[in-house]
Symmetry: D2
Subunit: 311 residues, 4 copies
């Protein structure tokens, strides 16, 4: 039934006329065709269900903020929260206004400023490639796939045009909210954003969040159950920039989007889901990806605000 | 076990040294002793578990915003969303800045501006007492208790000092975002905030949200299951003003707080919970009420981001 | 020569194609034809030079803020500056954002919030008609003309639609920055804005500011020389809302504009000038009035930043 | 009389107990003793009147923004105004909020963002040392003193800690409001801020602004009379950051301050004045320098809002 459902969703999304706007401010991303749509669902039993362009690589962009947060929490524990808050921002993903009003401390790890602050912790005192390596190793291990890599052309494109992120980083540096050399932190940040993955790889990498933090293959905890639900809470309240409330209202699942058009969504105990369609809403989230998740969550009853099934 | 748990929580909260600050800007509320703590839990089976001052009346204040939203949705359907958004605000409960930046449209129905806009729909074209009556009838019916009433002294105190709410209302009126006479809308708003209830009554009034929108006694739908989960989503993302993210992070339950010190929290399918302690955090949420919910949700595993129990 | 100059300016302004937009948010003002242009110049020797619709009455609107400030300074002295600052606002005339960021204290007496705070001092403890009477008496005395009056229809129109000003007043009241009943203060404010004067009357009323604060007919000081130059400084830095810098850059004279299309400008020691043309720039200042003052100040060398003539 | 006056002012300022805070965010500036006070006045007849530490060099910091503007106007004419506005900002000198609200275009050339945008025009397409050279040549020529130079230690200190300026520059670059490599523009900017001059040199460099734009020694126009009065207008409305209104209110002279404690003030047709005292007000302007100018302008009747003397 799930296979039929996602095949049906993928078929409709493939021909949907209104597909949103592909991100234009990173030249490499602007080249991607808006025609793509892919979906992959890994269910609690470990089965994989895919449809559309589920095995095509795309730039995960801000979806990487989830993995960077996990890496920073593993390495630095609760210290992470000295650098970054846990509140929705009420403003655009790249806004700098709140940073000034709030003394350089970003509101949450899933807006650009917050992710840069988290990345700075990972990059701390090392060469850029070490920080990039740490995040990449985590993602590969979570997905069980060593072929996952950074798309160098995208990383270069981001660095060449990432003035707004450089502004955020320098601004936080002026408040001491990031510690390392701005250039190093930005290099790690731009590279983590440029990680390329398919829906299938991404859905696999999200499995531990469906399983209360535990890796389904090794059985080892990636994060504690408490951290897993806290990360999920952050994804729900802050995962879609200034459309997070709307996503919670319509879909009701913890999820994180990226301007490459990917979204990773988690139905706790049920599924890890990745969708991809490059066209974005005005708030910077995949238009068709969001619609697909809305249909899927409704059809499956996967919504954290639904009562659990009576046993 | 639940009885022991909440008795234990209530005992510890009764003697907690750091109790927050009782709201001072409404003179009548400032008179309430910070020593109070009450808790009431109605579980899915209809049983009631109470501890502490669970049968003492307090001013529900912004918790009433949930009931006003339900009343407006019943009467006006999706038209409500023309007046108010579904996004966290990223600012204080009584902030006016975003209203100017966003052309007078409040971000969500759970900040003051949004609740006033919702109330304006209810008040529309009627005398104040009719709007107040509509909300009061709903609350009484949900709680199954016709003794619930407005505290006139508090309503008067709010009206006499509610300049900031008057500013919000006039400001929205200037954008046509509220339609009725400002005075009427404010009268209804101040009275709904002044509804007095005990924890037990409040937990009863929230039962329909635990049961996917259905009244547990009559079996009739108050709102559709879809609306019930959407209201829950709004409570999770916006229910604690500019500490909503933190509450989701620590407690993980849809909930709405009021500056009277009450919080209504919903564990879908499991429980409707009301806590009350008048001392507030700097963001305006009950300090001990929040702590109590944190302990309760952790002990019971009531957190929407936990995987549901395997059946 | 001055007569020829202003006749020439008036002739060109009468037929200028681009005339700006008549203020629409006050219904009575929206009825005024954009075809009008008037100018009146009283020179230091007391002579009056007029052209165009110089004897037609118009609504002086925010030009009245200068007279309200003078009245408040006469009655309350330096206490005025506890209520209002002396800084340009960097935002629109009716913006409320800065009020929130700066605890309810308006930046200067020439934006709406500041003028309302000043008016509240005048209104203090009295019936509205007494406050209105005080301002009207001052204006009549300065202009030497007892026929000057409030346009009742405009005052009524402002009160009926002045929700944004009501928001500002209530907001300041919530911070204690205005003390009296909001309704009284607003009544006085709406009536002072609705004072109707011709260019000739307005230029006469401004004579004391050209003469270092002294009334040219009675010889008595209206304000001290120090206050006269301070008021002029405020007019230069804050007199044209968020286009004050531009006006200083292009015209170089202390001046105050109103949304009725009038502007009062002072060339210290040389002239008191009033212009009127109802069409406004996007910032709310008379488009042709500003152009006329630019031409006049350039032709006459009346610019406070010019070196004074070598004697 | 002027000599006695400034000697008296200097004597009182030398022992004033409340001296403000020396700028701490640039380490090299933090080393300067707050005990200094110097003043130099060049009158229209070319005579120089000095008192206190008038021949000691200090870092002119933002006073250099006037010279950078002149250099850019000479080289690029009215094109400068495509990059920067002419309005007071209503916010702190290093605020970034308005840049976001206004699409990256700074409000005026005398706040940091605006000066960086102006500097970018000067730096355009060249090596940093060429841009620095151009500004330095202008300053030397205006002061008639080839010994004036950049303080390398200060320039280095600014560059090493100038993260907030780097944020502003990168932010504007993201909007295309600056065109050159951010690093080059910042290098030129940091070096121009680090120009070291004495009060005497600075007062000399300001002479052309007293003389309607004409160099008093060569007789050649540096800028046209119209530009001279426009620059003066900008100095009056924007020269003291978010205390510009207050300075106009109290002193009434076009002036530009710097966080090194220097202020250049112009009395058109009368005098070019430089004061220096390193302690700053909370808004970042020399505390005693401002007081000295207040006393001087009052005693001499040098206030652009005074009526000119009757001839």
């Amino acid at each position: 039934m799930l296979d039929t459902l996602i095949a049906d969703i993928a078929a409709r999304m493939a021909t949907a006329p209104d597909r949103g706007q592909v991100a234009r401010y990173i030249p490499e991303l602007a080249k991607v065709s808006p025609a793509h749509f892919g979906i992959a669902v890994v269910t609690a039993d470990g089965r994989e269900h895919v449809a559309g362009d589920a095995d095509l690589s795309f730039s995960i962009q801000s979806v990487s903020k989830v993995f960077a947060l996990v890496e920073a929490l593993q390495a630095h524990g609760e210290r992470v929260w000295q650098r970054v808050g846990r509140e929705p921002s009420g403003s655009a993903f790249n806004s700098i206004i709140q940073l000034e009003l709030e003394q350089g401390r970003p509101r949450n790890p899933f807006i650009n400023a917050g992710a840069i602050a988290v990345t700075d912790l990972i990059a701390e005192g090392n060469e850029p490639r070490e920080g990039i390596g740490a995040i990449l190793r985590l993602v590969r291990s979570l997905a069980g796939d060593d072929t996952i890599n950074v798309d160098g052309a995208v990383a270069y494109s981001e660095a060449a045009t990432g003035f707004r992120n450089a502004a955020l980083a320098n601004y936080m540096r002026s408040f001491g909210m990031i510690a390392g050399p701005v250039e190093t932190t930005l290099q790690v940040y731009f590279h983590q954003c440029a990680i390329a993955m398919s829906c299938r790889q991404l859905a696999r990498a999200g499995r531990f969040l469906m399983h209360a933090g535990r890796c389904p293959t090794s059985g080892k905890p990636i994060v504690s159950p408490e951290r897993a639900r806290r990360i999920a809470a952050l994804m729900l309240t802050c995962g879609h920039y200034d459309a997070s409330g709307e996503f919670a209202f319509e879909v009701g699942l913890p999820a994180k989007s990226g301007v490459g058009g990917g979204i990773l969504a988690i139905a706790p105990g049920r599924a890890s889901i990745a969708v991809w369609s490059p066209g974005l809403s005005p708030q910077g989230n995949s238009l068709l990806g969001t619609k697909a998740l809305e249909e899927l969550s409704r059809a499956m009853g996967w919504n954290v605000f639904n009562p659990p099934p009576a046993c």
